[in-house]
Structures are given as C-alpha cells and as structure tokens.
Symmetry: C2
Subunit: 410 residues, 2 copies
C-alpha cells in the first residue's frame, strides 16, 4: 500500500461540480489500494475576492488580520470536498493548517513552514479515512493563523509528503505534465516522463510556470518525489525526482528549452577593471530593490572593462537611472541598455557529461542568423540573450537541433 | 473603567462600509474609557451563500464538515473589522472560536458552549487592545470546529460577557430596542427602557424577534446585563436585566403585547377522561417530531373530556393525520382543527402581584366583539387564541387597554 499526497489547485476545485469530480478522482486512488492525503487551494477567484475586501478597507492591511481573512478560502474548499467524499460513502476528515499543526514562522502573508505534526493524519489514515488539508496556511507559535503566500498550496503538499514520508506527491494542475518547451511556440513539444529537481528549477524559474519554485526546492531538499498531472485528463504526467545513477544512462542530454520575455539588459562600458568594481556597480541596484538575473563581465582590455547585467523589464527605467549615477561616479565611458531582449536557455543535467552542447546551440542559432547578445552558463544550463523578435525562431531552432520532439534513446 | 461586550449582527457588518462604521462606534466606546470585546456575525448573505455551496453537493451535508465551511463567514468579518480598527490607529486582535477556546459539545451545527478560557482576552485588554471574536462558533474536545446554530452570535456575546464578568453585553441590531408591541401594527408602540429576562423570554418566544431566546436564557442564568441597541442610530436602547427589588415599584404591570401568527390548533373531542390520556394523545405527536405549544384540557363531563393543543402551522396537516389515528384508537368522538388562528399574549412581571389583568384583557377583547377560542396563563403572561382576522385589532385593543403608549408611573 502506497501513501500518496495529492494537491489540487484553485481551477481544479473552482466549482461545486469540479470539487465532485476531484472527489471521484481521490476515491479512485484510494480504491486502487493507496492511502490518500489531499491538499487543496481556495476555489479559483475566491482568494482575489477576499483580498479585494481587505484592500477596500486598507490598501496595506494589517498582515496578521489579512491572513485571518485570506485563510478562509481554503477552509471552505476542505469542508466542501469532505462533504463530497462522505456523500460518496468514503470516510474523510478535513483540517485547517492550524488543526493539523503546520507550524510556521510569524512572517504573515509569506510564512515558512517549520514543522508538521503528522500524528493526527497518520491516525486518520490508520482508521481508513481520507485526510483533506487546507493548503497555503499554517499557524505560528502564538497560535495565529499564517499564510504561505501565493502558490503556497504546492509547498503544503510537499511539506506534508515529506513529514509523512509519502511515496509520491502528485500536483494536479491544468497541464498534463512538464513539456520540452511551450507547445504554443513549438507544436511538436513533448511531455517529459521524468525530469530532475535541478532541471525543473531551471525550467520553472525561466518561465515554465507549472510548479511553484519553492515547492520544487523543498521537494528536492527532502527527497519528495513530485508528479505533475492534469486534473481532468488521465495520463502519467511528469515525475520530478533525483538524478540518481540508476536512471542516468537513460537521461536525455537536454530536457527542455526555456525562455523569458521579462528581461532587459544594461551595460556600463569603459569602467576601471579593478577589484570591487562589480559590487560598486550592483550595490546601488540592490539598494533600489531591483533584482538582477544574469551578470557578465568580460576580460578587461587596457585596464578598462565592460559590465552587463539583466533585470526584470518592469525595473528597466529605474535601473537605468541608478546605473547612470553610478557610471558618473566611476568615470565610466557610457551606459547603454535594451529592453527588447529575451533570454533563451537549454536545460539538462545530461550536459554535465556531454561536450558539444554549446556548439550545437550556437550553430543552430547562427544557421537562423540570430545574433547572440550575451551568453551565460551553469552546470545544467546554457542561456543566451537575443533580440526579442527572434524568440520563437530561436526556441524552435533549438528544439529541432536537440531533437526534443523524439523520445530520448540510450 | 467598565468592560463592555458588543455584538454586531450580519446586517450591521453587511458591507465593507458598514464594517468601517462599526469600527468607529467601537473606538468611540473605547475612547469613552471602556475596555471593549466585540463579537461579530458573518456579513449578511454570506452564511446563506456558504450553506448553498454545501447543499449543492449534499442536501444533508456531513455536520462536522458543514461547520468547517460555515464558520468561515465570521472569520472573514473578524479579520476585516480588525483591519479597519488597526487602520484607525486602534490596536486590535481577532480570534476565531477555536483560538479563544470557546469549548462546546460536539453537536455540530447546534453545539452548546461548555466553557470559555478568557485568559487570552484579558491579556489583550490589559495590553490596550480591542478583542474581536467570531460569533456563532467554537471548538469541541477533539479540536473540531463547531457552530452554535443560527443566531448563535448573540449567545457567544453573552457567554463571553459572563466569562469576563463584563459590566454589560450590548447587542447591536436593526431596531433601537424592545417595544411594547410591533410598531407596524400599533404605531403608538413605545420603546421600553427596561425589561426583565423573564418578560423578554416571553416576548421573544411569542414573536418579537429581537434577540435569540437562547442568549436571553443564558444571560439570565449568568446574570449578564443585556442591552439591545440600534447599530446605526444613537440611543439608550432597552436594558434586559433582573427583576430586582430596587426596581420593582417602578415596573409596569404589563410590558408588552406579543403575537404569533404561526400557530394552528387541533382538538380531539369526547375522549375518555382518565389518567394517562394526555400522554396517549401527545405521545404520537412528539414521535412525529411535531412541537406542541399551548395545551388545554377542560374539566371532564360524563367521563368524557375535550383536549386541545396548538402546533406550528407548517405541522398542521401532519399533526391532524396523527391525531385522527390516535382518536380512532381511543374511540374519541371527533377530531377538529383550525389553521387560521393566532395567539395574542400580554406579558409582564407586574401581573404577579396585580389582580384584574385577565379581566381587563378579556373585557378589551369583548368590547371589539373578538371571540376568544382558547386561554392559557402563566406567572407573567396571559395568552389567548383568536381568529386570525382579528389579530391586529386584538393587539391594538390590548395596547390601548393597558395604556402601553404611556411611560409607566409608580
């Protein structure tokens, strides 16, 4: 008998009818011989409705009381889902984050889980019940209700799976798995059967918004097997797991092509090439609460160097202004920038042990006459910055070049 | 410094604007030098919306899970009210029934309060906070969320006032107090400054739906002074308190005229006048889950007697059928009934020590040629059943006869 944690998001439980469909799915999992713990989000639209109520009273509502209001969204869903399960003759019991002791810190609206007391859940499972837990919420040391911030229901699912040492944590969503790239751009994009946590992190942070990054990190840290599945279609989904030796030989070299349209790049040219220059340039950017993604500094020539970095496109104007001030102080030659760029990345744990990935990538782009503006690499990823207008072309060319439409062969 | 418990019902907190109005009112009470504990209901319409969701899934939803869903209504209000108070610079903290340990039995959907741990509330008051508690809900020994049933927020207010030994429990509602009768029927009806618990119980159960009966019983039992006030109009309201000696002399003989249109009467005539007959007639009625209000049995003649009782009008057809079966078994002469009757009552603790109330009442009705069909009396009440068409006339005649439009004089 396996222990499965299933998480259903807001669109999966968006109506009373959908909740009943989810109940049927849960019962099927139980009838297949599994113990089942379920984590649910608020019905879609409900969290926004509650937020609006608070904002009408105060645009910056007290965080403790904000959490009291927002946490009701998931509480409604757990009760409704248990009513549906019990009506179908299946014993079930619901718990709020507080009732099942999902202990968090006191950082209201963005709390972090510290501990889960799983004894109560185990007892219910032993007595043959399905346990339904409110996602996205917990309780702090003072007994106050906390919320984990947007998307936190995934984290609740993973944390429960870790505490219970569940065999699998299934995340039900509105896609049937993780794809080699966005099928809207490359129709031949293929669902991946398996992907590693590290690859998933790179794909998620680069724009494949299937799973909350935090929950993937959490799953990796605690060794929880994650599976992404479609709420209303049958299928095996995508398993997110460790890059263990057993599977290594079968692993594809490249898992997917990610892209990000939300970037802008800034360059300060002709700055003195001396120690501490990077922090002198990025310090004021950080102080202005601007997050930096890629950072590139090339080898200096004649004691001068060029320094380039990317920021979120929304921060472009602000960053440009900060950088111009810094450049003046440093006596730099000039500041330039471009907010019509995109980042395209090939991601795969396989590239660690395979040479030639970079050249395949650059050749493919060159063949389409796409000029590469920046390059950045990590252990399992190569990212390039290209002009925005080439984005789709670049993604398709790379998907082709690495034959991602085909199942990988050993 | 006095300690005041204020309870605001669903219409008083029905919109975000009204919640902000209530916040102003609470702050005014605090600024007048009082400690304030507030109990709130769900925003009007919200409880019905939640009930509808559960009923769409199961017309008879699991009671534990039903309570999980329904209890969110008040939780939203406590958070929103605290956000409004804190925005106004007033320290405040909200608690669900579970957080403030309103311990109840496990009778989900109609739980009874067993105990309140008031230590936490006292600590907050000591630290200068306004405490806002969710009405209508509690937690059982197992840690499950319970609800007290409809109108239970009044009971929460009274229970908190009792536990905290509050100086007064103020129930804010959409009327400015308790009246001598319904002003829609008698325009001269007068707001009462004071009324006793016992009178209030009779008035409430007879149709003046200002306060939940259970909360009045509770207040009487624990000696909590209750005051009924209008949420959005200033005024002294009506104080509901003990019939202590100090005030006895000033008490009016009659406090008010109550009426109830929801009754129907049934008579079984010519039954053997022997011990046990009442239970033989009413036993089957009780078994059919029909509640009985008035019961009248007259002195028997020739070993036979007539037996009459009233039930809720909705139960009339069912009760008639049950009674016909019983009559057959008992060999009774006939069964008759009437569902076009009303009960009109004069209520007042003063009548204990004053003779002549009954005759004044009957004379007033006779003068209007209103035929009395049944009479029933208690220590502080005389009720008559008359034809429905005479109801308004009877109420006006009695209001006049006892001069209720005038302030009572000693």
């Amino acid at each position: 008998m396996a222990l499965i944690v299933q998480k259903y998001g807001g669109t999966s439980v968006g109506t009373v009818d959908k909740i009943q469909g989810v109940a049927d799915k849960i019962i099927a999992t139980k009838n297949a011989g599994n113990d089942v713990v379920v984590v649910v989000s608020a019905m879609s639209g409900e969290t926004n409705r509650l937020i609006d109520l608070t904002k009408k009273i105060d645009p910056n509502p007290d965080p403790r009381e904000y959490d009291v209001v927002i946490a009701t969204g998931e509480q409604v869903t757990i009760g409704l889902l248990c009513i549906a399960l019990i009506k179908r003759g299946c014993p079930a019991r619901s718990y709020t984050g507080s009732q099942v002791h999902i202990l968090t810190d006191s950082a209201h609206t963005k709390a972090r889980i510290l501990d889960i007391d799983e004894a109560r859940v185990r007892q219910d499972l032993k007595e043959g019940r399905i346990v339904v837990v409110a996602g996205f919420q917990g309780v702090d040391q003072l007994g106050s209700i906390t919320t984990l911030g947007r998307g936190g229901s995934d984290t609740t699912g993973v944390a429960l799976a870790a505490a219970l040492k569940a065999d699998e944590c299934q995340i039900y969503t509105d896609v049937d798995g993780v794809y080699t790239t966005d099928p809207r751009i490359v129709p031949q994009a293929r669902r991946l059967d398996r992907i590693t946590f590290e690859e998933m992190l790179e794909l998620a942070s680069l724009g494949s918004k299937v799973l909350q990054i935090r929950s993937v990190e959490f799953a990796g840290k605690y060794g929880v097997k994650l599976r992404v599945l479609h709420s209303f279609q049958d299928g095996p989904g995508t398993l997110i797991t460790y890059d263990d030796e057993e599977h290594k030989m079968e692993d594809p070299i490249i898992s997917g092509i990610a892209f990000n349209r939300d970037e802008a790049k800034l360059t300060v040219a002709g700055v003195p090439d001396k120690p501490g220059i990077a922090s002198q340039i990025l310090g004021p950017i950080g102080k202005a609460n601007i997050e930096v993604d890629m950072i590139i500094q090339n080898v200096g020539v004649d004691g001068l160097t060029d320094f380039t970095f990317t920021v979120h496109r929304n921060d472009y104007d602000k960053a440009l202004k900060v950088l111009q001030d810094t450049a003046k102080k440093l006596g730099a030659r000039e500041v330039s920038g471009d907010n019509t760029i995109v980042k395209v990345s090939v991601v795969g744990v396989g590239m660690r042990s395979h040479a030639g990935i970079a050249s395949t990538m650059f050749e493919a782009l060159a063949k389409e006459a796409i000029n590469i503006r920046m390059i950045s690499t990590s252990e399992i990823k190569i990212s390039v910055v290209v002009d925005e207008k080439y984005m789709e072309l670049a993604v398709r060319a790379l998907h082709d070049a690495f034959h991602l439409e085909k199942m990988p062969t050993v």
